[in-house]
Symmetry: C2
Subunit: 186 residues, 2 copies
């Protein structure tokens, strides 16, 4: 059976050097959490599984009197990681509750529609700001590609904010209603 994406992310984190489970969690939170996340409840069992499969080896260390289990990629683990890197990636999956609600927007009253969209735009702006706050970290810790995906994220959220902004304008111009039979926009 092939590895899951999270299992491969963990191999990927170790490809930059030995890390503890705690450090891996940090890296994921700071760089990929908004398009792929992992909790301790995933990370530690996966590290154990990787060790059982000979993809990583671990060593107990004491760092400033602090117990740590440091994991390291084995040659076999690196091969598995490399193979995965060359495979065609799975298609993106999006879970977007706002889009679901949009499906049933006809049931809302005009004022409610406007309010929902306004609130959603606020949410998007807030999230984009959070992404922008990661930037200094990515600039210091990450390489070119880590910064690149941050750029991608910011562009994605700009797109969403813009799209919903246009939709909001349309709603407002029609007092929360939409022109019946209007064609979709270019």
């Amino acid at each position: 059976m092939s590895n899951t994406t999270v299992e491969n992310i963990i191999l990927g984190c170790l490809s930059f050097g030995p890390r503890s489970g705690y450090e891996i969690k940090k890296i994921i939170s700071m760089s990929s959490s908004w398009f792929y996340n992992a909790s301790y409840g995933s990370i530690y069992p996966i590290l154990k599984k990787h060790e059982d499969n000979g993809l990583v080896s671990s060593e107990e260390t004491v760092d400033n009197g602090r117990y740590k289990r440091i994991y390291q990629l084995t040659p076999k683990g690196y091969k598995v990681f490399e193979k995965w890197m060359l495979e065609s990636p799975k298609l993106m999956t999006v879970k977007y509750e706002m889009a679901v609600k949009l499906m049933f927007f006809a049931h809302l009253k005009p004022g409610q529609r406007i309010k929902q969209v306004e609130q959603h735009i606020e949410q998007l702006i807030l999230f984009k700001q959070e992404l922008e706050e990661i930037e200094p970290y990515a600039a210091s810790e990450g390489d070119f590609y880590q910064r690149l995906i941050l750029d991608w994220g910011e562009n994605l959220y700009s797109f969403l904010i813009e799209w919903f902004g246009k939709f909001l304008d349309e709603l407002k111009n029609n007092s929360g209603d939409v022109p019946i039979n209007s064609k979709t926009r270019e």
Copy 2:
């Protein structure tokens, strides 16, 4: 405990009229599958659960000698659905394996980078075409908002194709390498 998004989608599908589980699956596949999907293994148990909770009622019918169980929203079910519609939607979650791979792109050889991005763009174009094929269905079966989310999806994939297209150009201009220390793009 509150309903999950999928549980609410099912209520939403029934808000347009009585439907069978099979029909609900069809609707979801044709309109929301690319941002929220559900399999029979989810739908049938959820319908049973909704009935236990008094949110839907069901009736066994025979349609052209064909057994069908038709579900209908109860007033209580409609209230629960309406309440959910007015709540602030959960933030979007994205699972984007290509973005994960991008994190570790430094490990690939220049030629491999170009190939991966090219293949990914092809995938995106294919998926966008699939979305466009839904359009006739949405135009005939769906209302304004169903068409709107299709429009959103097409715009989203256009954005992705464009973004990766720019990235590919950059890679090609540097024979698969990227300028060290180059700043992220505007």
